[in-house]
């Protein structure tokens, strides 16, 4: 019953999905690494990106892949706005204040979406949605392949931004040592705004590239964010390499779980991996990082 093709297919699907997990987690990790806030509203940033993509397609006929260039700045503004109006005020507060502030933001955003867009599932139609790439008995749908490539390219560009540009260096400097960064003439508050904006923008871009093969509904972010927490923690919170590595691990674990345990329980395997990793390496596979 279980042959090599089925298994390979599951692994390939897992990797395709895993790249998306990596990308969403990357946004989470940028925010955590710089601002030290675990953003429970991150899934809602993704959700807003998906709705924006849907409406750009439905009202203006814009292809989701082009919508990336619109959802990124849109979510950057939303993220930066949320930092400036809310998150900044709890910078010195205990962790539970930070966590539950973002939980509150998440509840509000979810239910505003429910109020405006109803609980219906919406999806976009593209010219390439039915195209399938077949290789050695494994089939990959074009939207998923494009989403995967998009995720890989975006992950690469963002890593490059963090590692090579002055802005990225400033962000990492603030993440590593705020006081010294200030002495070097970096304005940490500005960096915080940019970090939250960038983290949100990454979620917005992900929302656009997955829209061709996902439905959008008000609670779509919840499933993603729980998985991406697990990815970010397993990789080591704030550790970019760990995050990029763990997305595909979780993607594969999920699709093998679906194959062996059942369609609604694929994530059991992924969460068990998280728990095992935490038992043996409490600060994640590659250790906690500061970007």
């Amino acid at each position: 019953m279980l042959d090599a093709t089925v298994l390979t297919q599951a692994i390939v699907s897992g990797i395709l999905m895993g790249a998306i997990y990596s990308l969403v987690s990357l946004g989470l990790v940028i925010i955590f690494g710089v601002v030290r806030i675990v953003n429970f509203a991150h899934g809602e940033f993704l959700m807003i990106g998906m709705y924006a993509t849907y409406f750009l397609w439905a009202r203006a006929g814009i292809d989701p892949l082009i919508a990336v260039f619109i959802t990124a700045p849109l979510l950057f503004l939303i993220g930066a706005g949320i930092y400036k109006s809310l998150l900044r005020r709890v910078a010195a507060a205990p962790d539970f204040s930070k966590i539950f502030l973002t939980v509150g933001i998440s509840l509000v955003l979810q239910n505003i979406a429910l109020l405006i867009f109803t609980a219906n599932y919406w999806s976009v139609k593209t010219s390439y949605e039915r195209m399938v790439l077949s290789l050695w008995g494994i089939s990959i749908s074009y939207p998923r392949l494009i989403g995967f490539l998009g995720a890989v390219i975006l992950s690469f560009l963002i890593s490059l931004l963090l590692l090579k540009t002055d802005l990225g260096k400033a962000m990492r400097a603030v993440a590593q040592n705020r006081e010294v960064a200030m002495l070097m003439g970096i304005n940490p508050d500005r960096v915080y705004v940019i970090a939250v904006g960038l983290g949100a923008a990454v979620a917005g871009m992900t929302g656009a590239i997955i829209m061709p093969y996902f439905y959008v509904f008000p609670l779509v972010g919840v499933n993603f964010v729980v998985t991406c927490f697990a990815v970010a923690i397993t990789g080591g919170l704030g550790n970019i390499k760990g995050t990029l590595l763990c997305g595909p691990i979780f993607g594969i674990a999920e699709s093998l779980g679906v194959l062996f345990i059942g369609a609604d329980s694929g994530m059991i395997v992924a969460f068990l991996i998280l728990i095992l990793v935490l038992i043996f390496r409490p600060s994640g596979l590659l250790g906690e990082g500061r970007l």
């Binding site: 955590f32 204040s97 509000v108 239910n111 935490l278």
Partner: protein, 333 residues
């Protein structure tokens, strides 16, 4: 606490007593729908009080308490369903024991982790439980959920035709939760927990066995939460994994305590007495036309409290209460 006749001539004595008597006679004149709201207020005060022991006193932000809740609920329902075992045994004893076992596993895995890591790893444990109960359809009926076998009016099976008995059980549970929290707060363990919350390393240096203290707090919290789960199942007559093991429920336990005031006996009570009616009434008034509006209110309140009153509303409500007491007649001695 000394109780004498004299203490009831002072507002500090007779005001709580009057309030308690008021709570005791409330079901006699409250219409059914409002009685339901009152039950949810008392009930959420209880489960949030249970969260407060680990989340408030010990400062370990558990986001997986729904796992314990679900075990209490499923223990009661499944054992009645399959073996006719009353919920007292199936839910409270067996479900409660299962919750304590899970709390030991959780402690083993999560207590070495701090802060965000702890929160998210407990969240993962809750999610694993939810997915396991979703998956084991042959036993748990999966996503479609399970209804309690109907037994009529029966104390043995904790089923009542009217709401009043549920109300009194919920009231007793809340008072029990408050008493246990108060007791722990005054005990050596309570001081250990507060010390761990403030600075775990410093507490360990002065000889506090932090792992042990946190474990006891989590196990007590788990057991009480499982009792809450049993009550919920018996009251609502229907459970499904997505609700009783859901992240939403875990968040709600914490949220009520935070809005009220973490690490205080009255915090969860105040949080629940403010939030539940606010949520139920916005839902009843606006929920039909504007879906989700009650959760916007909920989230908005949470944001406002965290930003402007991070220590919760307990101080503010306490101040109002003190001023109210000043106005009342008293017999000085």
């Amino acid at each position: 606490m000394q109780i004498s006749v004299k203490s009831f001539t002072h507002p500090k004595g007779y005001v709580p007593l009057t309030f308690l008597i008021f709570l005791l006679i409330l079901p006699l004149f409250l219409p059914t729908y409002f009685l339901h709201i009152a039950i949810t207020m008392l009930f959420f005060a209880f489960v949030s009080e249970a969260w407060n022991i680990i989340g408030g006193y010990a400062g370990q932000l558990s986001l997986g308490n729904a796992a314990f809740f679900g075990l209490g609920a499923y223990g009661a329902v499944l054992l009645t369903h399959y073996y006719n075992i009353p919920p007292w045994i199936g839910g409270i004893v067996i479900g409660g024991a299962a919750a304590v076992v899970l709390s030991l596993i959780t402690g083993l895995v999560c207590f070495r982790l701090r802060s965000h890591y702890f929160a998210i790893s407990t969240l993962a444990i809750g999610e694993v439980m939810r997915l396991v109960f979703l998956n084991q359809r042959q036993i748990t009926f999966g996503a479609e959920g399970i209804t309690i076998p109907y037994k009529g009016n029966s104390i043995l099976y904790l089923q009542f035709l009217s709401k009043a008995p549920y109300y009194y059980i919920a009231l007793a549970l809340m008072l029990l939760g408050m008493y246990i929290t108060w007791k722990i707060g005054k005990s050596r363990l309570g001081h250990y927990l507060v010390a761990i919350n403030q600075n775990q390393d410093a507490a360990e240096v002065v000889g506090v066995n932090s792992a042990r203290a946190k474990q006891i707090a989590l196990s007590v919290s788990a057991f009480l939460t499982a009792v809450g789960g049993t009550f919920y199942a018996q009251y609502i007559y229907f459970i499904d994994p997505d609700f009783v093991f859901g992240l939403g429920l875990s968040i709600e336990f914490a949220l009520i305590a935070i809005v009220g005031g973490v690490g205080t006996v009255m915090g969860p009570v105040i949080g629940s007495f403010l939030l539940r009616p606010a949520m139920e009434s916005t839902n009843a008034l606006l929920g039909a036309t504007y879906m989700g509006v009650h959760l916007i209110v909920y989230g908005g309140l949470l944001i406002a409290v965290v930003m402007f009153k991070p220590e919760g509303l307990v101080g503010w409500v306490g101040g109002l209460y003190e001023r109210f007491l000043e106005l009342l007649p008293r017999k000085e001695n």
